[in-house]
Symmetry: D2
Subunit: 416 residues, 4 copies
């Protein structure tokens, strides 16, 4: 029976990946996890990087594969990890992203406002724990950092977790931005544990420096690519307008689950409650959503009678993306007013609709800064130092937040 | 103005691809072509090969890139190709797949029955030709093999066309089946023209042998992978059942375009006619369809009141794929009857619905056989020989049709 | 102490390779094995493929790495392999090429005439066995196919041994002939044992077909590349002439070991005997020879007073290679006579020296033919079939010997 | 005639490289350039990285290939480069390393003391210029930075020259240190020229950061790898001892050219003079030296009667490398004295021979510091800024010299 489940997965990034645990196999087969096949890892980035169609499904499996390598490495170095812990930490990384919705960050700004995906992941893991008779309890403890061996949590969520080691390499592979690749092999071989903290052995220090620089490169070159930003903010506006249309009683094409999310203002409490809509809990409805619902609906909205919705949807589907301008400081009010006046003239909309045509925001690269902990280096003398102190180049700037301001507007408004 | 359009595309397979012609750039921007971003190159293969989410968009651009290499190589060897011809042959390969619908081969067996995608491609190219003031005329001639220089058509459609050189390499890359990769660089460097026919220079003969074997490997290992087959035939049954539901007056969730295609029996004449449905021509409606509509709809059908549709949709979405058995000869009637009886007992459906639960068909690898022409080798003495005669291994078997028979049925019916 | 020896080797082909056994580590450190660093895997092929400077050292380590993978795979499938056997089969593959001299095949035709490298490997392994207190006894049994478990020998020497799986992939990597690469990962994953014979599981059949074709491609495109052939036969002639010079009492620059081999006609008996020259046994002297001695000496011979030796050496060192002509049948005597007459006129040498300037021989690809056993496929029904019977393409031609005839001569003799 | 010379070279790093100029082809064929086939790019690094057997020959050809890409890119951006200049800058990069001797840096510290390889390259280029009837004049001007268009020289020798772009990528490829790879494609695509200076366009800034970090990583991880250092300094001592033996009248095995270099103290004047030794000029003798002479000789010296030479040679050939200790500050005199005393006891040599057994020196990474110019970034506003000012991370530390001190000594002297 067991051997039946020893499945081999062909992964273009890591080659053959063998699933070695029945529990992992069964979790992969579960509809909650299969749903990840239908959610792109990088959302709309494929608009700029046509190869970036890889999904959260592959990423989760890749990260689980790296977790196995890391556990093996640590065990070879004498770090005690029981078989139960090894499986639990693998389950934790497998499911770490299970709460992601389609176009995750976009949704978090629109239809599941204020509900971070980590919370949803935790809720879904608890739901699965019930379905799997408590077999996920240890994994959940590790995921929530409530387990005694803290370093296990760090393998799941920290500056050097298996999540990052997989996604940087995978995103680099599929976008074709070869420079972003990281030496996940070597970094994992250099891992160790001191005082219950994950550390990197001294001779891995150059790999870490390179890892940090590669991550930075991926941020500016891929994750915060200006055309991708423009597309994502356009999608935000499409959804905000669709919500407005629905709330004002308008009809629009949408899958039932999407319709609920457009109509209701959802709170995290509702996610946890047993209250139902159309016979389903909010959490259940959430797991019915994926990229397909949004794209399929927006294609229809191109023909919607609401001209704002139709215009924005057409821009997104047919790649008439907004022009984006990025600066080191905020755009002056005069410039903004100028644009508003043009919007007024060109689109004949009133003041409270200007924001559909003029996006103003700022971005930071802080997403990868030091907030979630440090990278510690195990020096030759056995002491542990933070990377900034261990490296003879100054990496402190890497953890400084750089903020950039941008505006997006339809190309029609461009001044020649 | 021109330089504005010199776009560089990051392709994970070939690296940086520069778009060098304004016409090509504008065609890529057109909604017909952008639609290809939403159609997976390998349909449901991602069910087995999780990395295989690449789209027809990337493939078409990759093939166009190879076309440029091929044209440069031939010109260096003294073959005359004018600038207009070079652009036209690039346009022809760029658009060669534009008529593909979602899950192409599945659709050709269900909702656009009997209408091959090549025909639709030709119709769309003619439509584009009108929109682009006749600039595609030469490309269309080459595509239809109506142009005097026959070898240009062979670069678009033949045993060694740029289509195959791209898709074998690309599919190998994204599936992770590294063995399927072909030496597109070397094969292109070995191309030449004799008597208006594409030929391969003698010293490329081993590359061609390897190309043929790699293609064969990709057929059996990827394109005709048994689990993929099972999934595709399941999708056929889902769509056939959805059609039956609609035709008998049932309601179901579907995007408007999909609904039309489920309701109507479409002929190629209707595709060419100006007749409209919901205000749009059939061809227009077709270009509104993509993978998202099907997946988004089928997810809803899981809850449909028609129990057959609901069952089949659930099997597909939640990966409860049918068991598949493959044999060298047809399954005996006794075996089939046994299954039918079990279906009757287990699913409580009547006789004319058995086929929803029991799929019987055969496959051949003939798709890659010699029907669309030969591979010719330019011998050292200047003569041209077919590869079978030029090679000292016997490749004739490669072009023989191998037929295999299979049945698929729900796992619940499995006899232990 | 043990951990001290857990060395990690950076291999460009397979990534990090960990040496897991102390015995293997110590053997690698032994001067006999270190010598392999100074012997190129592909001899003079670097004259055509400038990247092909890889050595027998790396190859032996790569093959040992693959052996570990193979042993692990077989064990997972329930094949019993004890720890001693696992180490012995690894040692056997590590040392399988240890008897190779510089430019191996060339030497076997000149200075160690008639002594195949396998014999020398066996002698050196026995010598090492004494030095290592009998720890190599089991490895030697396996190497010589004298051990009961026959399949272990097949992992070392057969149609699908780890030797081939490594060298095909490695040679492909370093020559840049990407098409020659084989799916060693997948082939190893498909290995199994039936009736004490190595077999390949049915679904690996396409990988085997591709392996055979890739091997064939490597033979004709790399190993038997005509320019490489010309260079190797030139080297044969250089050495034959140097021997003649030494035997007739002439002085020439050579390292002491090389000088002995030029002066003596060596037999396999002498290799095994305790007789010494310059205080060393023949076997010891042999292990002092490597590529450097030959190249360093031949560079000097360019200035030798013997004009034939000087001419041939100059041709080799300064890449004035002989023209080579290859045909499907033997060259007619008339043609040969014509060349001889030209040699007479141009080089002013007498009849018994013509062969230095006119090389005549034939080559076959039989090196990879079926002589050393078959590839057996484990069919789905549990039976074992030879690949030729199992595959639906006809591979029999692949094992047929193809013979080609060639002549080489100085370019100065070319008729315009 | 011309087409005859359109040679295609298979390069494992860049794929097919076409030689497009007759002059380049003829220079490659010249014995001076062919000699580079016999000089490893990374000297003794192969002792640690067994794949690193690549030669200066391949590197020079790879750099010439990149030069062509760079020239094409710049021309597309409107930078004027004549055909003569394009060929000259290609010749300059092809020949930039032609003056390297075997184990270059080692030799510069021993047998050609104080003569940098760039000087020898210039002398050999001038010699070739005579042989090629002045066709290299422009190349030499560019090489020496005496040509008006300064940016052409920068393509040959600067922080972002084609030399570095090739060697970092190539060394990374052959050592298997995948992290060291640089995005040569992207960097070249980002090159431009302003005020006759090579600049990098703003959006390439992250690639440059990564380039700098990758280079740093390669320095510490490969070029200054401690075991490689130990081997190279051992080789220095072997050669110093061999010189001492020769100068004191001892006989030793060596090729004639090597013997001259061991016997004479060579000055740069002698390299330029017409004075001859054994009938050859010093420059001629130098071009007869390569890796083979040194290795072949040192193997013999293992048996030399001078016990110091024999000992050191044995350590090198049979990989009994000296233990190396590296520190941030100089080793205290007490420690050094302790070692000297042990040497005295163990090796029974007198004081003035201690240095053969105890190596003391320091290394810096300054080799890649800012001394040979800056990397300039072309900002979006058209201004040019140095990378340190343009980047929002602080790279200044990268150009600071880091000095490390080390000692090497025989393992026998190790205190447990």
């Amino acid at each position: 029976m067991k051997t039946n489940k020893k499945k081999i997965i062909n992964d273009p990034v890591f080659g053959f990946i063998t699933i070695q645990s029945d529990l992992i196999f069964d979790l992969i087969e579960h509809p909650y996890f299969q749903r990840l096949r239908r959610i792109k890892q990088l959302g709309l980035s494929c608009i700029v990087f046509p190869g970036a169609n890889h999904t959260r499904f592959e990423h989760a499996i890749g990260a689980t594969y790296l977790m196995r390598l890391a556990v093996n490495t640590l065990r070879l170095k004498g770090i005690k990890i029981t078989d139960d812990e090894a499986e639990a930490v693998a389950v934790a990384i497998l499911l770490h992203d299970i709460g992601h919705g389609p176009f995750s960050h976009v949704l978090e700004n629109t239809i599941v406002e204020g509900i971070p995906h980590e919370k949803v992941s935790a809720l879904l893991m608890e739901d699965l724990n019930i379905q799997f008779d408590g077999k996920l309890s240890l994994a959940i403890q590790i995921f929530k950092n409530e387990y005694t061996k803290k370093f296990l949590h760090q393998l799941v969520a920290s500056q050097l977790d298996m999540d990052r080691l997989d996604y940087l390499r995978r995103d680099s592979f599929f976008t074709g931005v070869a420079e972003g690749t990281v030496g996940s092999d070597r970094i994992i071989k250099m891992l160790n544990v001191r005082n219950d903290e994950l550390v990197v052995e001294y001779k891995g220090i150059y790999s870490i420096e390179k890892f940090l620089i590669a991550r930075r490169l991926m941020y500016w070159q891929v994750y915060l690519h200006k055309t991708v930003l423009s597309a994502e903010y356009l999608l935000v506006n499409v959804l905000l307008r669709a919500k407005a249309v629905v709330l004002s009683g308008g009809a629009l094409f949408a899958s039932p689950a999407l319709h609920v999310f457009l109509k209701k203002k959802i709170t995290i409490e509702q996610f946890s409650s047993t209250e139902t809509y159309k016979g389903k809990s909010m959490l259940e409805l959430f797991t019915e959503l994926d990229d397909n619902d949004l794209i399929s609906a927006i294609k229809q909205w191109v023909n919607h009678e609401d001209k704002i919705l139709a215009y924005l949807s057409d821009c997104l589907i047919n790649r008439k993306l907004f022009r984006i301008k990025i600066k080191d400081r905020a755009f002056p009010k005069k410039k903004i007013d100028e644009f508003k006046s043009k919007i007024h003239d060109f689109f004949e909309v009133d003041e409270n609709h200007y924001n559909y045509y003029l996006i103003q925001d700022s971005i930071t690269n802080s997403a990868y800064a030091g907030s979630i902990g440090k990278i510690n280096i195990l020096m030759k003398n056995g002491k542990v130092k933070e990377i900034n102190d261990a490296s003879d180049i100054n990496l402190s700037n890497l953890s400084q937040t750089v903020r950039k301001y941008f505006i997006c507007y339809p190309k029609e408004l461009d001044i020649k």
